[in-house]
Subunit: 122 residues, 2 copies
DNA sequence: CTGGATCCCTTGCGATACTG
DNA sequence: CAGTATCGCAAGGGATCCAG
């Protein structure tokens, strides 16, 4: 018996479980644009995230092998996060999303997105 | 004052609110591959969805102008769903996800994804 | 500095029954 | 055929405090 390809339905479900959460996309994109990142650095970059959610989301991404976690056993503690190869392959996809939103907004300057400009540094 | 672009953070959040739910991707992809679709047709295509979730998700997609809903005032009732132009622009993005998952799985035949084959018609 | 533990609330989603 | 209505659970996420 040979393996069939998973169905599109199946793939979409699967992928969204990996990148669906509230912060997963933002964290991965942040690591991408800023390169190797440390915990405290990400906490500043991801506006509004709590330590709990940051830790939890980083662990999930690590379990799914989208990021890699490197611990330096020294005092004070130091941990570095990088994108794995698999994680890097999701970046163009996030870029695409970004362009889609930009286009949507530029064609409508009154867009609700701008209601949140104080949060996002317009 | 001129409008700046929304930040990447902002865009990722925004996009995921639009396409993040459990069924949004699957519904849009289904309308894409099968063309103009009716309610009952989608209910068969989207395995496991309840009428409540189907209706709710369709309404959200409609509000976000990703799909269009056309009602025929006749007996028996008939409603047709199509992708809007904005909605169609998200399809390549779903395709990309699909390829990402296929690649992930093909390099690992024991992948957990296959645990669900009875659901997805392997 | 990089988290873990706990409490609590909201939202998403499922199950079931009913309707113009 | 194309939905609505109601109930209820479970997961996601926020706030706060604690720790090696």
């Amino acid at each position: 018996m040979t393996l069939n390809k998973p169905t599109p339905d199946c793939c979409v479900d699967f992928a969204f479980q990996r990148i669906g959460g509230k912060y997963k996309g933002r964290i991965m994109y942040s690591i991408h644009t800023h390169g190797v990142s440390r915990y405290g650095q990400l906490k500043k970059l991801i506006a509004g995230i709590t330590p709990k959610m940051l830790t939890q989301t980083l662990r999930e991404l690590e379990n799914d092998k989208l990021i890699h976690r490197k611990v330096y056993t020294e005092v004070p503690p130091k941990v570095e996060y990088t994108l794995t190869e698999s994680g890097q392959k999701l970046i163009p996809f996030i870029e695409y999303l970004k362009e889609w939103v930009e286009e949507l907004v530029s064609s409508n300057p009154d867009h609700e997105l701008y209601k949140h400009h104080e949060l996002y540094g317009r």
